[in-house]
């Protein structure tokens, strides 16, 4: 198949999957087989696109005329490939995990869950392969809307409120800030199509560009730059596989992906570097990194702590983009993958702990690691990747980002990154340490009322989380190809 057909297929395939899932709703085994099959096929499709891009192709296709002068169009380039591979690869793992989790946790409305999950993946693929800002916006909103029923899956008052904050903040920010930015871009440049080197340079005054940049960076609230980060902790009411979707597979990654894309293809690194309009945003990002880490320290609820950790880690990528240097962009793009593997493992572990022991608070997890050694070992490994220590993939992206701050002479930012790494040690390592080392609290009932009854989570939960944990290791040893793949972006 041609790369163009593959791109179209990447968006359509999960949608077809969603319809089949809905149709197979009465038969859980068939339904989940459809999910897995769709996920595997999608990965094959994405790999096909990546191999074409590796050979230097840049496939492009206009699908429909959407507005006068604007089309819904798809295109592929290295950055898109990284996001698409991460999303499609992790969808397989998440699907396996979902089967174990949802069954063990006796969740209701599972058909709805799998169907909307597939639609969200279709939207993520659309975001990845958008050829212009309007297409990007369309799929960005589709992603918000399709994940809304997932966040509110439980249907309780708490879930409703969480889902309301989630969708409300994301929709409001995109309508109030991102859409005006897109229209202003169209106004200034006469086009909204992504082009290497940017489209705004020479078409707009510096102050105008500064306003548009700020509208983009804050309007793309999926990147969770403070103060527009509230939706992320609010969304932790969702079932764990959904948290994985939000934090690792698609949603937040779509946000930072959009910011990288806008930086590279709308503004262009040279334009940003020459005008310096992004400098103040690097400080906002650095502040978000530090404040997010500090809030994470104060949280006893494991998922809440991980949520604020995500807020903090995402701003690494925003920071990389706003530094407007080659190392920053590549470091940011690599961090999309590195953080995805690390964070998905951590959330899978949190879910496995919940399924096995019904515990959500870190202070209740004393000694739990000795009962669930596989889960806690994976947690430790993924923690290392988030912190940025070898031998895990996270060390490379953080290294590149450090280089970028050094390149631009921003020693203050470099200090902030180091401080944040220390903070992440302080909020992540104790979980595993307490789990393995601390004596179990007495009178601490587990699943069946006794502490002794707690056992490892079901195999379908533990196997995926080990796969992703091994992924963080693999990314350490095989980072070079990714680096080589991304390098043309900034050449």
């Amino acid at each position: 198949m041609t790369p163009v057909a593959l791109m179209e297929l990447a968006v359509v395939l999960p949608l077809v999957g969603a319809i089949l899932i809905a149709a197979a709703g009465r038969n859980p085994n068939l339904r989940e087989a459809v999910t897995l099959l769709t996920a595997v096929l999608l990965l094959a499709v994405v790999v096909g696109i990546v191999s074409a891009v590796l050979e230097g192709e840049r496939p492009e296709v206009a699908l429909i005329g959407f507005l006068p002068g604007v089309t819904i169009a798809l295109s592929a380039e290295p950055l898109a490939c990284v996001f698409a591979v991460v999303a499609s690869l992790l969808w397989i793992v998440t699907s396996v995990y979902s089967i174990g989790y949802m069954r063990a946790h006796h969740e209701e409305n599972q058909t709805r869950f799998y169907a909307f999950f597939a639609i969200a993946i279709a939207a993520a693929m659309g975001v990845a392969f958008s050829a212009n800002l309007v297409t990007l916006f369309v799929f960005y909103e589709a992603l918000t809307l399709s994940t809304f029923p997932l966040v509110g899956h439980a249907g309780t008052a708490e879930a409703r409120n969480g889902a309301r904050t989630y969708a409300g903040l994301l929709l409001a920010a995109s309508f109030a800030l991102m859409l005006p930015a897109i229209i202003a871009t169209n106004q200034a440049a006469g086009t909204v199509t992504f082009a290497p080197g940017g489209i705004l340079a020479g078409n707009i005054s510096d102050s105008g560009a500064a306003i548009i940049l700020a509208l983009f960076v804050f309007g793309i609230a999926k990147a969770a730059l403070m103060p527009l980060h509230r939706w992320l902790p609010a969304a932790m009411v969702a079932p764990t596989p959904v948290s994985a979707l939000l934090h690792a597979v698609a949603v937040v990654k779509a946000g930072v992906f959009c910011i990288l894309k806008v930086t590279l293809y709308i503004f262009g690194l040279d334009f940003l570097g020459d005008t310096g309009i992004s400098v103040w945003l690097t400080y906002v990002a650095a502040a978000t990194i530090l404040i997010g880490s500090l809030i994470a320290l104060t949280k006893d609820n494991l998922k809440a702590r991980l949520a604020y950790s995500t807020v903090s880690q995402l701003s690494y990528i925003v920071l990389g983009a706003m530094l407007a240097t080659g190392a920053g962009i590549i470091g940011g793009a690599m961090h999309i993958a590195m953080h995805a593997f690390g964070k998905i493992t951590l959330f899978f572990c949190a879910g496995a702990i919940l399924v096995a022991s019904h515990k959500t608070e870190i202070s209740d997890m004393h000694g739990l690691g000795r009962r669930m050694p596989f889960t806690f070992a994976a947690f430790l490994l993924a923690s290392l990747s988030i912190i940025g220590l070898p031998p895990t993939g996270g060390s490379w992206s953080k290294w590149m980002l450090m280089l970028a701050t050094a390149d631009t002479g921003q020693l203050l930012l470099m200090g902030a990154l180091m401080l944040s790494s220390l903070l992440s040690i302080a909020y992540l390592l104790p979980v595993a340490v307490v789990g393995f080392m601390a004596p179990a609290k007495s009178g601490d009932p587990g699943h069946d009322g006794t502490a002794a009854g707690i056992r490892e989570a079901p195999l379908l939960c533990v196997a995926p989380l080990w796969l992703t944990a091994i992924g963080t290791l693999a990314l350490f040893f095989f980072a070079e190809p990714i680096f080589a793949f991304l390098e043309p972006l900034v050449k």
């Binding site: 429909i64 005329g65 959407f66 507005l67 006068p68 604007v70 089309t71 309007v134 916006f137 369309v138 909103e141 589709a142 809307l145 509110g152 249907g155 409703r160 889902a163 309301r164 409300g168 929709l171 409001a172 309508f175 109030a176 859409l179 005006p180 229209i183 202003a184 169209n186 106004q187």
Partner: protein
């Protein structure tokens, strides 16, 4: 390809059918007749639209008297477009109507309902095709008088006061309109719109002409419920039988917007006139006020019908704003929004009709959780709501894109800010609808109901599918609107 009498067909048919309806004295027969007639008018207007788009405007002289002595009917792209919109909604409303009318209108008045409906339909179909300014007034009054009656047929007694208030304000509007036309006639000696279009732009400095435009604008402002002339609208929509609300909300105000476009752009030459008398800025100002005030009021409503009625006031603001922007993109935005809003409001009010038919209330608290027993209705509400907010891949997005672009073209960034603010408010009130549908467990009463009867559902789903299909390939309607806007502006240069 088409008969020479085509332009008048869709007017004569319903006009003749209305008295037959009285003679029949039977609600079912009346309904059947109205269904056939509106269906026929819909097909005829579609043929006309295709013809006009392919071969240019059509002119028809009534009774064989050539204009300017006789009355001319003149159909160009814009009027054919409005015609199709009105006919489509009129036809689908009739598919929807039978059970809903049985439930909401006293049985012995059923045939009167269809009589009045056909008259109202005649009036609204007449306004777009007529090429005569006074004839336009006649059609405006046919549609208005019959809609006063239609509204007063509501079972709630407050429908009577609502209809009365509409009667008073509507008549004021009509009077203003006639005064304006009279002044123009005094200066130019003609009532034919094409003749007026040739003469008026050269007389823009004359005080009488300026007065005429002021009267016409205020008169139509009343008809289209522009803030602060909107007071008649919320109660009229809330207490009328739902079918009436569907039809009027979707078409009546839209046709008034069409009339305003005709007058401001075709007759007065648009920008030429605005250079002397800044009506455009007045329209932008009141359009923005309408958008915000309507949306703010909608946010606080608990009755869905009233909520949607205030939303209409807000949405009409968008159209008037587009009119006032007076450039290609802004005007195109207004044209798209005429169609877009007609579709959205028909969908949403039909959905409310289904809900009232089954649950018997339109109060947000009473209908909580209706998505469970009525999933199709709820899905249609979501689609309509998203389009109202302007989510991408809906027509609402195209409107908003064009309007924002138009505002920035004129360097009015603060207008862009207000547009964004209004759509955020829309998000809030649409959210309340969707939350009521999905986020609450149904009460026992709600859980016990079923989906509405098949014909009602059919009309609702047909409209919803149509708006989605049209919106996905939005360049079709978008390009058409741009071409139309260029024609309108070109005629003034």
């Amino acid at each position: 390809m088409i008969s020479v009498h085509q332009p008048i067909l869709q007017i004569v048919l319903p006009l003749m059918a209305a008295p037959i309806c009285v003679i029949l004295r039977n609600a079912f027969a009346g309904w059947l007749l109205a269904l056939l007639v509106t269906g026929g008018a819909f097909v005829a207007s579609l043929i006309l639209l295709v013809h006009v788009v392919n071969e240019g405007p059509v002119s028809y002289a009534i009774g064989g008297w050539p204009p300017p002595w006789g009355i001319e009917y003149r159909v160009d792209g814009l009027s054919a477009f409005v015609l199709v919109t009105v006919a489509a909604i009129g036809f689908l409303s009739m598919i929807f109507a039978r059970r809903s009318v049985e439930a909401e209108v006293a049985a012995d008045r059923g045939y009167l309902f269809y009589t009045m409906y056909l008259l109202c339909f005649t009036g609204l179909m007449g306004i777009p095709v007529t090429g005569d300014a006074f004839n336009l007034f006649v059609f405006l009054e046919i549609s208005s008088l019959s809609s006063y009656v239609l509204i007063s047929l509501g079972t709630d007694r407050r429908a009577l006061t609502a209809a009365f208030r509409y009667l008073i304000m509507g008549t004021l509007g009509a009077t203003f309109y006639v005064l304006g036309i009279g002044l123009l006639y005094m200066v130019t000696g003609t009532l034919n719109i094409a003749d007026l279009a040739a003469r008026v732009p050269e007389m823009t400095h004359i005080r009488t002409v300026q007065m005429a435009l002021a009267f016409l604008t205020v008169g139509l402002g009343l008809k289209l419920a522009l803030f602060p002339l909107h007071l008649w609208l919320p109660n009229a929509y809330a207490f009328a039988p739902t079918v009436v609300t569907v039809f009027l909300a979707a078409t009546a105000t839209k046709v008034a917007v069409y009339a305003l476009i005709r007058i401001a752009y075709t007759m007065f030459g648009g920008p030429t006139m605005f250079a002397v008398m800044p009506i455009d800025e007045v329209l932008v100002g009141f359009g923005l006020l309408s958008m915000i005030v309507g949306a703010l009021a909608a946010v606080w409503q608990t009755n869905v019908k009233r909520l949607l009625a205030f939303s209409s006031i807000s949405q009409i603001g968008y159209m008037v704003l587009g009119l006032g922007l007076a450039d290609v993109t802004g005007l195109a935005g207004a044209v798209v929004h005429i169609f877009n809003h007609a579709m959205i409001k028909a969908i949403l009010f039909m959905a409310v009709g289904c809900i009232i038919f089954r649950i018997g209330s339109a109060d947000l608290r009473d209908i909580r959780g209706f998505a469970k027993p009525m999933p199709i209705t709820a899905a249609c509400v979501v689609v309509g709501g998203l389009s109202l907010v302007g989510a991408p891949l809906t027509l609402g997005f195209i409107t908003k894109w064009l309007l924002l672009q138009g505002a920035l073209d004129r360097n009015w960034w603060w207008v862009a800010v207000v547009i964004v603010a209004a759509s955020l408010l829309a998000l809030v009130y649409v959210w309340r609808l969707i939350a009521a549908a999905y986020l609450h467990p149904p009460s026992e009463r709600v859980a016990a109901v079923r989906e509405a009867p098949a014909p009602m559902l059919l009309a609702l789903v047909a409209l919803t599918v149509a708006t989605v299909v049209i919106a996905i390939d939005g360049s079709l309607i978008g390009d058409f609107a741009v071409v139309t806007a260029k024609q309108l502006l070109g005629s003034g240069e």
